[in-house]
Subunit: 323 residues, 2 copies
């Protein structure tokens, strides 16, 4: 008897769950990354290539053997934001990182936990350099087809998008930018990306969230996606309004499973689609031997990874790190 | 600014998620328990009180400072089962453990992972002494009420049940016993516990699974529940057929949230109900500040807790433990 652990004996869906959790399953354990501390709280993880660049800015980043800390002398949210922004703009003009090529002029909050106060804001293109937790919103649009059963609307991303151009993606999705709530972002993206009228958005149902930890050449992605389901009328066809989508396609559940398994699907959107297919019974313990493993890999303990390493701040000094 | 971490500042639902994960969040970290190894695979965790009793049976259990191992000389599934059963029956007549008072004459499989071969079977009352992973099936029965919206059927457990008597519970639930598949167990329990006819069971939808790690005076419960949703006609009323349920009650979603928060609800069934309330939008990021934390606590990484500690078996000897 043997326990399957080699990639060859995995199911295709388990391999996919490993792919979008490549950092959780291997990078994290390599021990190469150091916690990024702001105001005594761990808010990120920093890879060696990024650490090397940050060493050039000792007045902003304190790099020790155990962690990287934002200068605790910075007084407040605005000062922290400005100092980091200055460094990032310089690194961008130095072409130090691929990630910064995609500068967005749109900021993400940097927080210890989702429900806690923001410590600073940072251009969204840069958060992956610091392993800052990212939060997004996704809408699974579907119809109940009289002949084909439950069918799912997917979008193909525009070829001009800075990240994942031309890849297939969920019907609607977007990152949670500074100052926007989850529901507000869902509504805004639904209108901009798919022209879904307010009347239909009344049927939007909150359906949980997925968490995973991906890594690419750009950086680290500890992502949590807040997931919504939206049943649409058979006759409704999504229409893009902001130029970020090249087309929409309605797929059967079986076709959708095949699509997320292709390299043409955006890796970091696959968890949302897979979670939808599981919640609606299309992927189940009957057809997927690694079902419960996959469920765990759709909800990896990001809070534990970061909060276990939370520091204790005493008298303005970082006193200890429990890593 | 501060990160909420004390119990006083938690939401009631986060406190509940901590309650059904009391072992995951504290016991596990105390380091008091030792891995239980069978055929080179970690299949459980053993508390000091259990270890003390097992020391009396050195021909069956090898207790070392790092782990407890079932004698690797036992040849096969039947021999391992018989040797452990002999010890358990003796411990039962010695009244060594509360858990064994509830002897069931019904066995659970002991495996390294859900999809792998069973290494032995063990009376279900005893698995919590060894921290063996438990698998169960739960059905959320609900109706779409024209005035009250989505309503949920709950059962009150019989006062004669060996575990959690009189407590409120999901409409249908049961453990996965040796030789029964998930779907088979769901159908069997639905008929026995709630007299749901085969015709209605055609609407059963697989909807994921929840994993949590609970501890009680009886022992350790690393549980995975395979979850099904079943929409029922308004006029259908569940009727118990096996004497294990004293009554059924139909609750609105708001009442259901309140019910799972009372001490009258079976703690280890609450994750299933909470997951249902989240998937159907009744608990969302709009009304629950710790929403994403709760989602992670409904899917704790049991596979990692156990498989990280898997041993490498070489030449019949346990070669190393990566704990």
């Amino acid at each position: 008897m043997s326990v399957d652990s080699g990639a060859s004996s995995m199911s295709r869906l388990l391999k996919l769950a490993h792919k979008f959790n490549c950092f959780y399953l291997s990078g994290l354990k390599s021990g190469e990354c150091r916690p990024f501390i702001v105001e005594g709280f761990q808010v990120g993880l920093i890879r060696p290539d990024v650490m090397k660049q940050l060493l050039k800015y000792p007045e902003v980043f304190r790099v020790t053997s155990g962690y990287v800390e934002l200068n605790p002398a910075f007084r407040d949210y605005e000062e922290r934001t400005a100092k980091v922004d200055y460094v990032l703009r310089e690194l961008r003009s130095d072409k130090a990182f691929i990630a910064l090529k995609g500068w967005r002029d749109e900021c993400y909050d940097v927080k210890a936990e989702f429900h806690t106060e923001s410590l600073l804001r940072m251009d969204r293109s840069a958060t992956c350099l610091f392993g800052i937790r990212n939060y997004g919103v996704d809408i699974n649009g579907y119809v109940r087809h009289p002949k084909l059963g439950l069918c799912i609307w997917l979008q193909q991303r525009s070829s001009t998008k800075q990240t994942w151009p031309d890849k297939w993606d969920n019907m609607v999705g977007g990152g949670l930018s500074v100052g926007h709530s989850i529901l507000e972002t869902a509504h805004k993206e639904a209108m901009e990306e798919a022209s879904i009228p307010a009347e239909l958005l009344k049927n939007l149902i909150s359906a949980g969230c997925v968490s995973f930890y991906f890594e690419s050449e750009r950086g680290l992605f500890p992502n949590t996606e807040f997931v919504f389901d939206l049943e649409l009328p058979l006759e409704f066809v999504p229409q893009n309004a902001d130029g970020e989508v090249q087309k929409f396609e309605l797929l059967t559940a079986a076709q959708c499973i095949e699509r997320i398994l292709t390299p043409d699907f955006k890796t970091t959107s696959a968890p949302v689609t897979l979670d939808f297919l599981i919640r609606h019974g299309f992927v189940s313990a009957e057809n997927e031997p690694y079902y419960n493993m996959i469920m765990e890999l759709l909800h990896v303990p990001l809070q534990t990874i970061y909060s276990n390493q939370r520091s204790i701040k005493e008298n303005g000094q970082v006193a200890s790190y429990n890593i």
